[in-house]
């Protein structure tokens, strides 16, 4: 067999293997989603969404957990978005090549890699204990806000960086100050990317479980929070709670709740992709 034929054969073989590997990844995802759908879909109903938790699996619902999750999402966004945006703008537009900005840079890279349980410990010590918030919506939101802050900052920076330098130059050359340039040109042009980042970060926050467990979010909360200082449950905590019950029927509940959680995260991700594509067309 000539070398050329051999090389072409190997090439073809790898093409097949590569396609298989790629499809395998997707296949696993499909198996996994189908399994959850198969297990949980029948349990999904209005009653399931609107019922309070219960010791009877067939009577139990996710009303409080769902509302808890919505509370967390909103509050986390309110806390994290302004800070993350401002920090991202600062680092990208003001950060000069100094030791301080190098420190910020490395700091954010590291923060993004800190495991979420550690954020849980931080929240437990600072918000729950030191600031006496207890295991409240507020404490959890503050903790999750810190957790997604690096994601927001990085997303903001990337979106801003994608704004062509020529746009900034044009603005400066017309006598704009730095902030005017940011406000009139950079932010509008990067809004798509920033929004995408915000939504992805929130979808991350919605699914976080470990920090909430460390904060001591409760096992049984039969009411929806009314204020940020109320105790609460959240979807992932409820799911974890049900998963760890050995009765089959709670496993079905867990699967049904997972479907709801996945709808939320996938919905958010889909929205993010939609926005990204929409905005991409707007850039020069």
């Amino acid at each position: 067999m000539s070398n050329m034929t051999r090389n072409r054969l190997l090439d073809g073989a790898f093409r097949a293997v590569g396609l298989l590997a790629t499809l395998l990844g997707l296949l696993l995802l499909a198996v996994f989603l189908l399994d959850i759908l198969r297990t949980g879909l029948s349990r999904l109903s209005w009653q399931f969404l609107s019922a309070l938790p219960s010791r009877f699996p067939e009577r139990a619902g996710i009303y409080t957990a769902l509302l808890g999750t919505v509370w967390i999402m909103v509050l986390t966004a309110l806390i994290a978005v302004p800070v993350g945006l401002a920090a991202g703008v600062y680092l990208e537009e003001y950060g000069r090549k100094s030791r301080w900005s190098a420190l910020l840079e490395i700091n954010i890279t590291n923060l993004a890699g800190v495991p979420s349980v550690i954020y849980g410990l931080l929240g437990l010590n600072i918000f729950v204990r030191f600031l006496r918030m207890g295991s409240s919506v507020l404490a959890a939101s503050c903790t999750l806000a810190l957790l997604i802050l690096p994601i927001l900052i990085v997303a903001t920076r990337e979106a801003i960086r994608a704004v062509p330098k020529t746009l900034r130059e044009a603005s400066f050359a017309l006598g704009a100050t730095r902030w005017q340039t940011i406000w009139y040109q950079v932010l509008p042009a990067s809004m798509g990317g920033i929004l995408t980042g915000i939504i992805l970060a929130l979808s991350r926050a919605v699914g976080e479980t470990a920090p909430l467990l460390v904060l001591g979010v409760l096992a049984y909360v039969p009411f929806a929070p009314k204020s940020p200082l109320d105790e609460f449950s959240a979807l992932p905590v409820q799911i974890f709670n049900w998963i760890s019950r050995p009765q089959q029927a709670f496993g079905i509940n867990a699967a049904a709740a997972i479907i709801v959680l996945l709808l939320i995260t996938f919905g958010l991700n889909g929205l993010a992709i939609f926005l990204r594509n929409r905005w991409r067309r707007h850039l020069p």
């Binding site: 090389n7 072409r8 190997l10 090439d11 790898f14 093409r15 293997v17 590569g18 396609l19 590997a21 790629t22 990844g25 997707l26 995802l29 198996v31 996994f32 399994d35 959850i36 302004p82 993350g84 401002a86 920090a87 600062y90 680092l91 003001y94 910020l104 490395i106 954010i108 590291n110 923060l111 993004a112 890699g113 495991p115 349980v117 550690i118 954020y119 410990l121 931080l122 010590n125 802050l149 690096p150 900052i153 902030w179 919605v206 699914g207 479980t209 470990a210 460390v214 992932p236 799911i239 974890f240 998963i243 760890s244 867990a254 997972i258 959680l261 996945l262 995260t265 991700n269 992709i273």
Partner: protein
């Protein structure tokens, strides 16, 4: 005008400062609490004792069993994610059409968007029973099942970041290779992958760091028994699981037992810190190469 600009800059800088405060907060908190711990348990013992039984009568404070549990699950995850992720990255970058890649890549990234508690459920209810049929005698909680599911979770991290690294290799190098009569596979293996090696390394390091810090999958499916073993078929406990177990179990606050979670926490923090910085360093190196 000048003043307004200054004020705005100060406000923005303050926001950026919060991220530094967070890091500072984490470090101070872990250091202070772990200091209590290390006042009573010598660092040497902590690092070399092979048993971890701080909550029991016969107390041992050796972190090794937790570290080994963590490394074991991480090892399994990487063993799944690395080959698969790399093949996918090469395939998508060198073989697949742009259309196919644009559809597949976000789909694969969905794997990383799934909340980890959901993966835990999957590991426990699907993967473990499946593996038990193949490997009789495998325990219900084990590192293999948790690790492989974690591997699926970090798969897109490896495949996407590696793919980005491959994409960053200048097209001119590929063209040079093709123009000399190379096939795609030859071009990929001899030119593109070597040129992207530091980027690929970054992706793997980040994936390891992610696996080391992952909590819910292992807490649900790997077990809660600190055990110094390399056997992936028996229950183990990871550092993260221990932290969740103890902090939500609410051991008496302020006691030595309680401080163990900060000793474990600081170990975890240092592990991921080292990994992230090695990754960061590699990435800088990689950037310099092509920018």
């Amino acid at each position: 005008m000048k003043q307004r600009e200054r004020l705005i800059e100060a406000l923005l800088a303050l926001s950026a400062g919060i991220s530094v405060l967070t890091t500072g907060g984490i470090i101070v908190m872990l250091a202070v609490e772990a200091a209590h711990f290390f006042r009573q348990v010598p660092l040497g013992t902590f690092l070399t004792d092979t048993q971890w039984t701080p909550l029991f009568a016969d107390k041992h404070f050796g972190i090794l069993p937790l570290v080994s549990g963590t490394l074991l699950t991480t090892g399994v995850a990487i063993a799944v994610a690395l080959p698969l992720g790399l093949i996918i990255a090469i395939y998508l970058n060198e073989y697949a059409t742009v259309g196919f890649r644009n559809v597949i890549k976000p789909l694969l990234e969905v794997l990383a968007a799934v909340p980890t508690v959901v993966y835990g459920f999957f590991a426990l209810t699907v993967v473990t029973p499946f593996l038990q049929r193949l490997i009789p005698g495998m325990a219900g909680f084990n590192a293999l099942s948790a690790g492989s599911v974690m591997g699926i979770m970090i798969l897109p991290l490896v495949s996407s970041l590696s793919e980005d690294a491959l994409t960053a290799v200048p097209r001119s190098l590929r063209e040079a290779s093709y123009a000399l009569g190379a096939t795609r596979l030859q071009t990929a293996m001899r030119v593109v992958v070597p040129a992207a090696s530091s980027g690929i390394t970054v992706s793997v390091i980040l994936a390891i760091s992610r696996a080391v810090g992952e909590t819910m999958i292992v807490a649900i499916a790997a077990g809660q028994e600190p055990r110094l073993t390399a056997n992936p078929l028996v229950p183990v406990e990871t550092i993260t699981t221990y932290i969740v177990q103890v902090s939500s179990g609410d051991v008496a606050y302020g006691t030595l037992e309680y401080d163990t979670i900060f000793a474990a926490g600081i170990t975890l923090f240092v592990l991921t810190l080292v990994l992230n910085n090695v990754g960061y360093w590699f990435r800088q190196k990689f950037r310099e190469q092509y920018e």
